[in-house]
Symmetry: C2
Subunit: 260 residues, 2 copies
Amino acid sequence: MIIVSDNLQITNPMIQSAVDQMDPEPIRRLGNLCVTAGAEAIDINSGPLTRDPENKMAFLVKTVQSVTDLPLFLDTTNPKALEAGLIESHGPTIINGFSLEPNKLEYILPLAKKYQTDIIGYLLYPNSQVPVDETDCMNIALDLYLEFQKAEIDDARLIIDPVIAPIIWEDGNRHNRAIISVINNLPNLLGFPVRTIAGLSNLSSGNIPLKKKRLLERSFLPMLAASGLSLVLLNVLHAETMMVAGACQSLLNPEVFSWA
Amino acid sequence: MIIVSDNLQITNPMIQSAVDQMDPEPIRRLGNLCVTAGAEAIDINSGPLTRDPENKMAFLVKTVQSVTDLPLFLDTTNPKALEAGLIESHGPTIINGFSLEPNKLEYILPLAKKYQTDIIGYLLYPNSQVPVDETDCMNIALDLYLEFQKAEIDDARLIIDPVIAPIIWEDGNRHNRAIISVINNLPNLLGFPVRTIAGLSNLSSGNIPLKKKRLLERSFLPMLAASGLSLVLLNVLHAETMMVAGACQSLLNPEVFSWA
């Protein structure tokens, strides 16, 4: 399970301000912290970047790559920002991501073909609603894979995100139990060892006390790991969560156990 | 997932001394602590009780039942001690447990029929060795169930323990990954919703630093919970482990999430 940092988010006022002012220092500092904390890849969640999207995403990519060579996930719904990031990036880059939403199929998915990158596909209905049961998730996975094949991208480029639901949603628990099984069964359904990713912090969106948020996250993480999740997007500065992630690796390692 | 306390163990010198002197107070104190900490059942691990087994087990059962009405698991390889405990107990009592070992089939298993109690069956070879792979575990489960049926006990009385292996064993990781799947698949194999139990502390037996033991345990627990484990045997005085157990219940509850 590869640890992808979700720390670099435009919803963080410090990052918003750094992007507005094109000030690289706060972004470098955060990037360095994430690397030190054990991030194995970094998600750049820039939001839609409605004003000057190309320059701002290029600035973000350039700044992060000035402190690390880790793979970058470009997390934006804006195809212009995305393409500028793909052009700027000189290392492994992953598009985050597309779904069955018509705009994403038309403007996002083809960029994975054009720039020969991996791409995340979300298991969401075309209207972006979250499916509840495993059967619905699996049907969406088949539709998504069909679109992916139509775009003539190699299977090995696909990473599926079954989209963790906030636990406080009415069907959140039912959905999240389903996706444990979805992660386990997707490779059989699609007939190749498709990779999967999940964003852990989604679980505890909403009005839950902070300590309980963290507890829920580090209790759900081993369930995802045991189901075979390939990558997890999380806050790498949560030390206890990172320790649990490390313990999961130790427990699930097919080799003889070692703390080395 | 029902939480069974593993705290009352004869390997605890305080308990050993209390049993030797037939002094109920230390046992009552520990029993009260376990109840307060959230135990839903209590395992009485008396060891073989080679001297005066009947009186000592009766004393243990009586003493624990003087502070709580929780179900008791009688955890001994000594059939005499076990029978004395079954006679003394006036609440729900579970035999812990039998295996394919000939002595256990001959002297332990029939007590579940005689006293109409639940009984735990260990997935171990007749020589008490631990099987490594899922297929081996499943074959043993079938043999065990056959013996259980021969003893003419109701299916609903059976609880299977796939026996967590110490992670530092050569095949410990392989075995423990297998049992996650075994727990999930046993009900289908046996054709009824057979309950399962696992002893969490087995995982970290051996020379591992204490903090890492606890981290491993609370990382493995959600994996077991998500696989459908019915009961877990653990140290209820480990507060963080108990919090994770509670979070697992919240996450896996088919009802709408609530912290109430």
